[in-house]
Structures are given as C-alpha cells and as structure tokens.
C-alpha cells in the first residue's frame, strides 16, 4: 500500500488554504463500512491526483490509449443487448481496437448500459474504482442522462454523472450500434485532445461523489476507495 507522506501533517504552523487542501488530501479513508478483520485487506489512502505527462509524450500516450479501448464486460442494463451486435461481424468493433475484457483491472472503458438501479450502482461504483486510470465512462441511453423512461421510478437513479464522472453520453432508447460506434469515435477524439480527465475529476471531487453515493446506497459495506 502507498505511504502517505506525513510532512503535510507536521508543517501546519502557518495554515494557508493550500496546506489545508494538502492535509485534506493526506487524510486517510475511514473504510467504516468494513468489518475490523476486513479493513486490513483494503487500502485506506485517499486516491492521489496523477498529472499527465508534458507535451509530445502525453499526446503519444493519448494516441495509444485512444487506439486500444478495452471495455469492461459488465452489462449494467438493457443497453448491453446492443453490445452483442457491436462485437459480432456486422458492426465489428475490433476494427477500431475496441475489445471486451472480463475483469475491471484490465479494462479502461466502462459502458453504463442504460438505467442503473441502486443495487447496480453499488457494483458500478466498485467496478469503476477498481479500474486503473486513465479510465473513461460512456453513458448509454437516455436513462443515464436524466432517468429517461424511469425518471419517476423509486429504484433507478436519474443522473449517472452525480456518482461517477461521465465522458460521453449516447442518447436514445436504445441507441443503435452505429450510435455506439459514433460515441466511441467521439471518445477517441476527446482522448487524443486530452479532454478525458475523468479519473482526476473523480479524485478532485472525491468527497462530493462519495457523499452522493452514500446518500443512496444505504448499506455501505465496501471500502471507500477500492484500489
């Protein structure tokens, strides 16, 4: 597990805003959802912002990232039914360097397939935090934008961007595979332009996201940030 440098805590003689922010960054996570013997297994260090490289190096890295997008194989909603045609020979997404990975550790694109019920949102948050950055989120369908059909349902959230940062929305119910490919191409453009800093955004507004998540997910029995 990462060591948190304690300097930020000791040199607190003259508190400026900056140092207070540093202290907030250095504060450890509570992980109060976990039982005592489980706390040892999980990291309690707050996630740290990772700055991108400078100049040509970052643009080259972004090109590589945009050319190999690995989807997390998690059909969170009915939008996942259009991923099957996307993978098969009619709309062959492998042509664009897109492939599906079964484990969140190795994947970098998370497709929120439509509506997310509260029970699924818990798994979405956990899978999203297990993914290694930079990671990108595709909101699929109208339900991720504003609740869509189920805007007044008691069990589906209305806006996914209140809980995890979203890079690209693909509207429609259901969005066609062509629309999905269009969304992927848009995502590639944004990655090349270096606009997809969703992970750093998540880390900057970490407390806000956590507050929103814990407001809905009542039985929070998982670590606060899952490395």
């Amino acid at each position: 597990m990462k060591e948190s440098n304690m300097d930020g805590l000791q040199s607190t003689a003259t508190e400026t805003e900056q140092q207070l922010e540093d202290m907030a960054k250095e504060m450890r996570l509570a992980n109060d959802g976990l039982s005592e013997q489980d706390k040892g297994y999980f990291c309690d260090v707050r996630p740290h912002r990772v700055e991108p490289y400078k100049g040509i190096m970052e643009s080259f890295a972004n090109w590589a990232r945009s050319q190999s997008l690995w989807i997390l194989g998690f059909g969170t909603g009915c939008g996942a039914i259009e991923l099957r045609p996307l993978m098969t020979s009619r709309f062959d997404m492998y042509r664009y360097g897109i492939q599906a990975r079964p484990t969140p550790r190795q994947s970098c694109v998370f497709i929120i397939g439509g509506y997310a019920s509260v029970k699924t949102l818990k798994r979405i948050v956990r899978s999203y935090e297990q993914m290694q950055g930079p990671k990108f989120v595709l909101g699929l369908g109208s339900c991720t934008v504003n609740g869509g059909m189920y805007w007044d349902s008691y069990n589906t959230i209305n806006r996914i961007d209140q809980y995890i940062p979203v890079d690209v929305y693909i509207a429609g119910c259901m969005p066609r595979p062509e629309a999905l490919l269009g969304g992927f191409i848009k995502l590639k453009q944004m990655i090349r332009e270096g606009k997809c800093e969703g992970m750093n955004k998540y880390i900057d507004d970490f407390d806000w996201y956590k507050a929103n998540q814990k407001q809905i997910i009542h039985d929070w029995n998982m670590p606060d940030y899952n490395w």
Binding site: Y154, I157, R159
Partner: protein, 181 residues
C-alpha cells in the same frame, strides 16, 4: 385433507361464484383466508391443478385489504384458476404454501418485501430479494409515492417539463378530436 366445507366451496366453484369468466379456461374464486391453503392443497392434489403459475397481491387501500391471488393451472383440463384471498392490511400475514411448491417461497419473499405481507415459516422470507438496504414503507403499497421519492432522492436533471397528457394533446395536437369520445 379436505373437510366437507371445502367440498362445498368446491361445488360452489364448479357451479357459480365465478368472477370475470373471460376468456374460456380462466376462473376466479374467492376463498376465506383460514381455509385457503387447505383449498389450494385440494386443488393441487385432487383437482389436478398441479402448476402454480404465479402468486401476487393487489392493494385495495380504500377497503384496507390485500387481495392475494394464487393462480394455478390444470394441464389436463387446460384451466387457469385464480384463487383470491382477502386479508386485512394492518399486520398483514398469511399461511405459507412453500410446502406445496418450492418456488412459492420466492413469491412470498417478494411479497414480504414489496407489500409487507408476512408469511411465517416460509424459508428465507425475511431476506431481501430485489431491493437492497431499503428503508421505509414497502414500495408496492399504494400509499408510497414513487415520483415524490424519486424527485427527493435522485437529483432530477433540471429542465424536464411534464405536461398533463390529456390537456397537452387537447390543446396542441388534436384540438378538434379531443372531445369526440
């Protein structure tokens, strides 16, 4: 195990006391709560209604009662029989039929969670089935307002306008046809 009281109920079923007999092959019968399970047992064992199609409840909040509906099917006579039981809404509780069909326990789990109807003795009836960490009244009860709950909880995106469909269509879409019905 059928007392003659159920015999008589059976006779009534076959003769009359049917509600909504459309389509052919679908019958509904009302049974008292205390003899419902024995009656269903007889339906399964004697009358050949061997298939439990579904088991659900209807919330009549104005009469303050739940109407349980056991739908059983007879594959020989191709009959669907809806056995309907009225139970009071306060402290709603009902005998379990998981000993007749194992998958009835699943329905009872759902009813416990969604309506708050208790089935003592049903395996795992208290486990959460669909919802997770749900606090508050059971969502399928009619006094639960899902729209209000959703607007309070799930950060509705500003800008959504909800028209009253009838008024909107009457004004904008079909000004002439709206009154033709």
């Amino acid at each position: 195990m059928a007392t003659e009281r159920q015999e008589r109920t059976m006779q009534e079923v076959n003769d009359s006391g049917l509600v909504g007999d459309r389509p052919a092959g679908l019958k509904f019968v009302h049974v008292e709560a205390d003899q419902a399970v024995a009656y269903i047992t007889r339906l399964r064992d004697v009358q050949g209604y061997t298939h439990l199609v579904f088991f659900t409840a209807i919330d009549y909040i104005e009469d303050s009662l739940f109407r349980l509906t056991y739908m059983v099917h007879n594959y020989d006579s191709r009959q669907d029989m809806g056995v309907q039981v009225d139970i009071p809404r306060q402290g709603a509780s009902m005998e379990s039929i998981h000993h007749l069909w194992p998958h009835a326990a699943t329905y009872q789990r759902e009813l416990k969670e969604m309506f708050g109807i208790d089935f003592p003795g049903s395996p795992g009836v208290d486990d959460s089935f669909i919802l997770e960490g749900w606090t508050g009244i059971s969502p399928m009860r009619r006094e639960f307002d899902t729209r209000q709950y959703s607007e309070q909880t799930y950060f509705p995106r500003p800008g959504r306008v909800t028209h009253d469909t009838a008024a909107y269509m009457k004004e904008n879409l079909y000004p002439s046809e709206a009154e033709t019905w």
